[in-house]
């Protein structure tokens, strides 16, 4: 035998590198290099010529343009950030709530689950499942329902109830705002529900049994067992929610439009980089804040 026999461990390591290599190639040439180049483009002005494109160095001029002279960038960026900050708590809480709900045993559970994951599949930007106001007006005249019927939820009663209960103005507007956007929240929390559900399933039942023998109520069991046990997944979900917000906000649209309608590639690249850095900062802050509270079982 000519070939030197490798140990299983070394053979596995070699095969591991082989298996990863397609991904690694893609990572290097379709991700790292483009990422670096797009940063270069944001520093250079790009003019498309006949045989390709020419670049000339501009420094941070495009970034200055974005923040100082661009008419809408600052506003759209702030809106995107507020959107993330508002949506992440409501989506996380809602998906945890739904996951605990459909984790319980009741008749028709399989059916309910099948429906709850449906919005993941229908969350296409081209579909207007949640009808915009203009379409709603047309729709209501089609279906013959008046304004408050149909899909338009009114949270007016809820608002009054909360006000009488003495809740703060900020909290009230947050809750009623979330109720008004219920479809948006449901449709963007599908993957999170899936992840939470898997986490709930992986908690050992013996913990609950022991707690039951000690006499805990369901409420206590949730906060003392369920919540700590799924807290690592909470972190995963918050990160996923922040990342998932890319697909549906005005800033992404603006970046695309700047590149392919105004054909200002460099400005678009600068926008994308600012966006990326802002999101990275948000991710960094949230993960450090949450990971302090996260409980690891092992």
């Amino acid at each position: 035998m000519k070939r030197a026999r490798m140990t299983l461990r070394r053979r596995k390591a070699a095969l591991g590198m082989l298996f990863v290599s397609p991904w690694l190639l893609g990572f290097l040439f379709l991700f790292v290099v483009p990422l670096y180049e797009s940063f270069l483009y944001s520093l250079n002005s790009l003019t498309l010529g006949k045989g390709g494109f020419d670049t000339s160095y501009e420094g941070f001029a495009y970034y200055r343009e974005l923040f100082r002279t661009h008419p809408t960038f600052n506003r759209v960026l702030t809106e995107a950030i507020t959107d993330i900050v508002i949506n992440v708590p409501s989506i996380t809480i809602f998906s945890l709530f739904v996951a605990t709900l459909i984790n319980q045993k009741f008749r028709g559970r399989v059916f309910a689950r099948a429906i709850f994951f449906l919005p993941v599949l229908l969350a296409a930007p081209v579909l207007s499942l949640e009808n915009s106001t203009q379409m709603n007006a047309i729709a209501s005249s089609i279906t013959g329902t008046s304004g408050e019927g149909g899909f338009l939820f009114t949270s007016f009663e809820l608002q009054r109830m909360l006000l009488e209960a003495g809740a703060g103005q900020g909290i009230i507007s947050y809750i009623t705002g979330s109720v008004d956007r219920i479809y948006e929240i449901i449709s963007s929390s599908g993957v999170q529900i899936l992840i939470f559900l898997a986490a709930l399933q992986s908690i050992s039942p013996s913990l609950y049994e022991a707690a039951k023998i000690e006499g805990t109520t369901g409420y206590e069991a949730f906060w003392k067992i369920t919540f700590p046990m799924i807290s690592p997944i909470l972190l995963t979900n918050v990160v996923y929610t922040i990342v998932d917000a890319y697909s549906r906000n005005a800033l992404s649209q603006m970046i695309t439009d700047t590149a392919f309608q105004s054909l200002n590639f460099s400005l678009s690249a600068a926008m994308a980089w600012v966006y990326f850095l802002v999101v990275a900062a948000i991710l960094l802050i949230t993960t450090t804040l949450i990971s302090r509270k996260v409980f690891y079982y092992d």
Binding site: L30, L121, L197, S268
Partner: protein, 320 residues
């Protein structure tokens, strides 16, 4: 004596719970609240679908008839037929299907291989590379949009093509190549998430199974496709479903790479515009019928895959 006591005591407690009014009220009020919540959420989710179904089969006359709410009086297939023609459905649906199908198949292969390596085959730097996977999830696609576009516009491998032909690379736009390339290298839509799902699932499969296969004389690759993959069917179904549906729904990459080939997700937003001048209400009907045609294949696929999909959650596919 002892074994007989415990069941009796438990049965007694159960009996008390069933008869005692406080327990009874507590139990059934929770059941009622839960039922209301579940039904309410289901309604919110299903409402747009019912709405589309109802609207798509309505006749022109029914739109203006205020007595028609949900069930059309004059049942008609005309709206659907018009939307079908406006979309040139067979051709565009086939294009969508081809792109989604090809990239799904390749994504499953590349992602499962990489995930297997990350989960089970420890090599130098695997931790660092996995951090790279997470990094691809975090960076927004818009950040590398322009370079990706220019990359495929002037596609070149280390400047070799320019060296031999004198041209500045091939133009790969308007072909299926960008989709194939990015999914076979695991850089397609949310590939990072798929690698993550597969890795968690592979880690959950007992090592004893894998070791037993080595003792029985399996090579590493054989143990992958004979032991790991059959055990990971729920994860595969989840990834296939997500990958296919997200590619089907996607109009970002499709409008970036394809200019003359029509797919459903790029044709859908524009196909009803021509009707909106003459009759905006009818255009709205056609739009809804078109959307119904758009989601019909996904719903069919979901009905087929739903059982495995939910099972993959049951078997805690995502958390190792």
């Amino acid at each position: 004596m002892k074994p007989a006591v415990r069941p009796r005591a438990e049965a007694w407690i159960e009996q008390v719970k069933r008869v005692h009014p406080i327990y009874w009220a507590k139990h059934w009020s929770w059941v009622a609240v839960r039922a209301i919540l579940v039904i309410g959420f289901c309604f919110v989710i299903l409402y747009p679908l019912f709405f589309k179904l109802s609207v798509s089969f309505k006749d022109r006359m029914d739109i203006y008839d205020t007595t028609v709410l949900w069930i059309p009086k004059n049942f008609t297939l005309d709206t659907i037929r018009i939307a079908f023609q406006a979309l040139s459905y067979p051709k565009t649906a086939w294009n969508s299907f081809a792109i989604a199908g090809v990239s799904t198949a390749m994504q499953v292969v590349s992602c499962s291989l990489a995930a297997f390596a990350f989960a089970r085959l420890h090599f130098k730097g695997s931790g660092l590379l996995f951090a790279g996977v997470i990094f691809t999830i975090i960076v927004p696609v818009q950040t590398i949009m322009i370079t990706t576009y220019l990359n495929y516009r002037y596609f070149d491998v280390f400047g070799l093509i320019e060296l031999f032909t004198g041209q500045r690379g091939f133009n790969l736009l308007d072909s299926y190549w960008p989709f194939i390339l990015q999914s076979i290298t695991g850089m397609g839509i949310k590939s990072g998430l798929f690698i993550f799902i597969f890795r968690q699932f592979f880690r959950g499969i007992p090592t004893e199974l894998e070791e037993a296969s080595y003792i029985d004389g399996c090579a590493v690759f054989q143990s992958f496709y004979r032991i790991m993959l059959p055990n990971a069917i729920p994860a595969i179904v989840t990834v296939v479903l997500f990958s296919f549906v997200w590619q089907w729904n996607d109009n970002y990459f499709v409008s970036l790479f394809l200019t003359s080939t029509d797919v459903l997700s790029t044709k859908l937003p524009v196909m009803w515009a021509s009707f909106s001048l003459t009759d905006p209400l009818y255009a709205y009907l056609v739009k809804n019928a078109g959307e119904l045609l758009f989601i019909a294949p996904i719903i069919l696929l979901y009905m087929f895959a739903q059982r495995y999909f939910v099972e993959s959650v049951e078997r805690s596919g995502l958390i190792g």
